[in-house]
């Protein structure tokens, strides 16, 4: 009898899991431009060209689901193209500061090398920890890099 109960319990867990933890989930990426930003003096005379490259090791997902043992079970995929999404974010912030966007100089290049969510499992609940990193470069007319910085951001959502 105990064996039957155990088998039933295991089957239930497997069925529940297959309906959720093992199916690919999709999320909408969203970004609300920063409010109350100040215009950069002289920006209205500068037309910048923003180019983004997605150089993440895994470009087909922005996260994954995992079971109680920490084993990855299914991907979490973005509905939007990550490259386009970053381009739109950067352009929106630049425009808000007075820059014009178009085929101009200088070209601002941005390589996105990390953009994903990971789970941290706790005793009673977990946290969703997102990490985003991009390498931003600017060249002058002589093709020298005059700006090259790695910019990172982290978002944590606790009590998952």
């Amino acid at each position: 009898m105990n064996r039957i109960k155990t088998l039933l319990a295991l089957t239930l867990v497997a069925l529940l899991g297959s309906g959720c933890a093992f199916s690919v989930d999709r999320i909408d990426l969203g970004y609300i431009p920063q409010a109350g930003v100040e215009q950069v003096p002289g920006a209205q005379d500068i037309t910048v060209d923003v180019a983004v490259r997605d150089v993440r090791p895994q470009t087909d997902r922005v996260g994954y689901k995992q079971n109680g043992y920490g084993v990855e079970t299914a991907a979490i995929v973005a509905n939007q193209d990550v490259t386009t999404f970053f381009e739109q974010m950067l352009e929106a912030e630049l425009q808000a500061r007075g820059y014009r966007i178009g085929e101009g100089k200088p070209a601002i290049s941005c390589e996105v090398d990390s953009f994903q969510n990971k789970w941290q499992v706790g005793m009673w609940s977990g946290s969703a920890i997102a990490n985003a990193r991009m390498l931003v470069k600017i060249k002058d007319a002589d093709q020298n890099y005059i700006y090259s910085e790695t910019i990172t951001g982290e978002g944590i959502h606790k009590g998952v």
Binding site: G42, V62, N117, M134, K139, I156
Partner: protein, 43 residues
């Protein structure tokens, strides 16, 4: 633990940090200005 919605919230916060980090840097805007000026002087 398996919710994509929580991943979205966390990613949203990462974007906010990312963008405020980049655009609050005066050296970034200074570089854009200097690069733009260098192209003007070449033409």
């Amino acid at each position: 633990m398996t919710s994509g919605a929580n991943a979205k919230i966390a990613l949203d916060r990462a974007f906010d940090d990312l963008m405020s980090n980049l655009f609050s840097r005066p050296d970034f805007h200074d570089a854009v200005g200097r690069a733009a000026a260098s192209y003007v002087s070449v033409q």
